[in-house]
């Protein structure tokens, strides 16, 4: 599946005298608060080969893009340098501007002065500015030496692999199938549904988690474009965009492989498990987590809330257990880390559960011990209002003064230094302590290490950009759905899954995926036919010696060349280069950087 097809070139600009347009982005202050963008533009305006240098608030905005297009039209700009954020975010944006304006899109150079300058040199404005000037000048030198290139397309497997068969995985597969894409769900548990299967009544609909899972599974099973593998153990994930391979062992011990053009990571979350003795968990009776309490409620008889056969007449909810942990206050976990993030959904979940208790067992006294109530979702504040109205007693502590649980034969006493009563030390008796635990990412270390998937400081999978590319990983062709990314509730996970499926469908909409045309090219006039380069090539048939026009020369097969450049280094006359990344370009860049 790695056959490559060369497309026709858009415009042939290489014979024109380079007229470079340089554009410095403020990134709304992300860059311009540190780097003197006017000074950069002024320095570049005087640089040889530069016809115009401008600075603008957001080069990626439509107005910013129009600036470039107008300069191409009015000033005859035929090469561009944009100094802005990382090329991973907007290099393609600006190539498209050139293409739309009739200039070959590869006559563009993207300079990173945000992630690799303003964000890392905050204390050195002058140094960051000088660096930005040098980098932009190096970019000009490179783009002046660029040739127009033609896109290469790689045939892609017309299929998306969805790793994880919970709510996000099922929704992603259904959305992908709805867009005409074949989807394969790979789930390690024996059945589909994930954490939904453990949950009771869910906000906002009040439906049982198992009912929602059942509905989704029925839709999945009825969809002919979706195939499902459950009870499997993934042992290998590899490949690249368009051509991923996932190997796994089935429950019967046999091995299977799924080939896919894209992957959706819907690997979900795990509940934070309190440490032994944390608020009495694991040591004292009647200390449970919120998920355990939800199961308990499901199994309690009507009119009597029971735990271990005893009636529960009072309970205390302790918020932020395993979330918003503070170094020095909370004990690190086995990996030495603390969960300093907010798990987002637990406040709403806890209040929703408290309201269910009040509805079903009105006589039960509920104490809610919290640091902050963050009922952030649409209309979730109503859960707080209802709980307040129904007599749930709220007590608020600050970060340093954690509540203390003292247990004896008579039950539990919760001690809280309550900031709502100006620091009064309150004590309440409770038959049951419910620890409102947060979410942690599932253990997907094997897949993460094999695919080098990026994770944030919170250990969840990290998207490329929260706003611009919210469901994409840096690994091209890999998308994220649901709580593999960060704590979210079911409606959010479903929305994210739909977005991830849409991105995968866009990627695989055509039978081949456009890839950068960066393969080795030979200058036949320069080539002396010495034969040194084929020996450096690791790919059979990608580079060989052949007779052309009565001359022995190196010949590249662009369908097989991977563009690594191993052959480039050994050519004594620089007759072979990787298109778009030539040695002459790099020599000129280094010269510009080194120059005082």
């Amino acid at each position: 599946m790695d056959e490559k097809i060369t497309e026709a070139s858009s415009k042939d600009n290489y014979r024109q005298e380079p007229k470079v347009g340089v554009y410095i982005c403020h990134c709304g202050g992300n860059i311009s608060d540190i780097i003197d963008v006017k000074a950069v533009a002024a320095a570049l305006a005087k640089y040889p080969g530069v016809a115009v240098a401008r600075e603008y608030a957001f080069m990626c905005s439509s107005n910013g893009q129009d600036l470039i297009a107008e300069d191409i039209k009015n000033l005859g700009i035929n090469r561009t340098v944009v100094a802005a954020c990382s090329p991973s975010l907007h290099e393609l944006t600006f190539r498209n501007v050139l293409q739309r304006a009739g200039v070959n899109p590869y006559l563009h150079e993207h300079i990173n002065i945000r992630e690799q300058a303003s964000w890392v040199h905050k204390a050195d404005h002058a140094g960051a500015t000088a660096k930005a000037i040098k980098l932009a000048q190096a970019g000009v030198e490179k783009v002046k030496r660029k040739d127009p290139l033609n896109a290469i397309r790689v045939a892609a497997e017309p299929r998306v692999a969805v790793i994880g068969g919970g709510v996000a995985g099922m929704r992603a597969a259904l959305s992908a199938a709805g867009k005409g894409l074949e989807a394969v769900i790979i789930e390690k548990a024996p059945r589909l549904g994930g954490k939904l299967l453990e949950l009771g009544k869910m906000y906002p609909s009040g439906e049982e988690g198992t009912a929602i899972a059942g509905k989704l599974e029925a839709l999945v099973r009825a969809e002919s474009k979706i195939s499902v593998h459950t009870g499997v153990d993934i042992d290998f994930v590899g490949g690249f965009v368009g051509n991923f391979k996932i190997n796994f062992k089935n429950s019967d011990g046999t091995s299977s492989q799924v080939k896919a053009g894209a992957i959706i990571m819907a690997t979900g979350y795990q509940h934070y498990k309190p440490a032994q003795g944390e608020f009495g968990y694991g040591e004292s009776a009647n200390v449970v987590t919120l998920p355990e309490f939800i199961s308990l409620m499901k199994n309690s008889p009507a009119g009597r809330l029971e735990y271990s056969g005893k009636e529960i007449k009072s309970l205390a909810l302790i918020h932020c257990v395993g979330s918003r942990q503070v170094e020095g206050i909370h004990k690190p976990q086995a990996d030495g880390k603390i969960n300093d993030y907010c798990s987002r959904v637990c406040c709403s979940s806890a209040l929703y559960a408290a309201n269910q208790v009040k509805d079903r067992y009105p006589g039960v006294r509920i104490y809610d011990v919290y640091r902050d109530i963050r009922t952030y979702g649409m209309q979730h504040e109503t859960y707080y209002d209802k709980a307040s109205k129904d007599g749930v007693l709220f007590m608020r502590h600050n970060e340093a003064d954690q509540p203390v649980i003292v247990s004896d034969r008579t039950g539990h006493t919760v001690k809280v230094k309550d900031v709502l009563t100006w620091g009064e030390e309150l004590e309440v008796k409770a038959d049951l302590i419910v620890l409102v635990t947060g979410m942690m990412p599932s253990d997907i270390s094997l897949i993460k290490s094999q695919m080098k998937m990026p994770t944030g400081a919170d250990r969840f999978l990290q998207e490329v950009h929260l706003k611009l590319r919210p469901v994409e990983l840096a690994n091209s062709g890999v998308f994220i759905a649901g709580t593999a990314q960060y704590p979210m509730d079911v409606p959010e996970a479903m929305a994210a899954a739909g977005t991830a499926a849409a991105k995968a469908a866009i990627l695989l909409a055509e039978p081949d995926i456009p890839l950068e045309p960066f393969v080795a090219v030979v200058d036949e006039h320069k080539c002396t036919g010495c034969g040194l380069c084929p020996a450096e090539c690791s790919y059979d048939g990608a580079l060989m010696m052949a007779e052309k026009n009565g001359k022995k020369v190196a010949v590249v097969n662009p369908a097989l060349c991977k563009g690594c450049g191993a052959c480039v280094a050994v050519c004594p006359v620089r007759a072979i280069n990787v298109a778009g990344w030539t040695l002459d370009q790099f020599d000129a860049m280094v010269e510009a950087i080194a120059k005082e």
Binding site: D124, K131, K562, C564, L583, F586, A594, E596
Partner: protein, 125 residues
């Protein structure tokens, strides 16, 4: 005169790694210049020597190491860098001004450590 450090990164691995350092707002010296390539195996020995001759104080090659997507490229690169060291020695250029290392997409601490060590190495230049 500033002691400029040239950092050669790979599209697949260390360039995103350098971005990750920025995204985490970790700081380092502004005398550092990142260039990105498909793989540093493309550079002949003379490229490094010419860079030193032009005034670059130190060069860090941040390869993809064993994660390199190109078959055999890292082994070839290692051998080439060994030859560069021989040529540097012949020219009297201190060996610690060139470093071949491996940086992944999330190797933020390692990225900063390499810069810090190279800063110390070039201080004597």
């Amino acid at each position: 005169m500033s002691k400029k450090i040239l950092i050669i990164t790979t599209n697949h691995s260390s360039y995103p790694g350098a971005d990750a350092v920025g995204q985490a707002r970790m700081g380092y010296s502004a005398d550092t210049y990142v260039i990105r390539v498909p793989d540093p195996v493309m550079f002949p020995e003379d490229f490094y020597l010419n860079a030193f001759a032009k005034g670059i104080a130190g060069i860090i090659i941040m390869s993809s190491g064993s994660d390199c997507p190109y078959e055999g490229a890292y082994e070839r690169l290692s051998k080439r860098v060994a030859r560069v060291y021989e040529k540097m020695k012949a020219k009297g250029i201190a060996a610690n001004r060139l470093k071949l290392t491996t940086i992944c997409t999330v190797c933020r601490a390692a990225f900063l450590k390499e810069i810090s060590e190279m800063e110390k190495a070039v201080a004597a230049v």
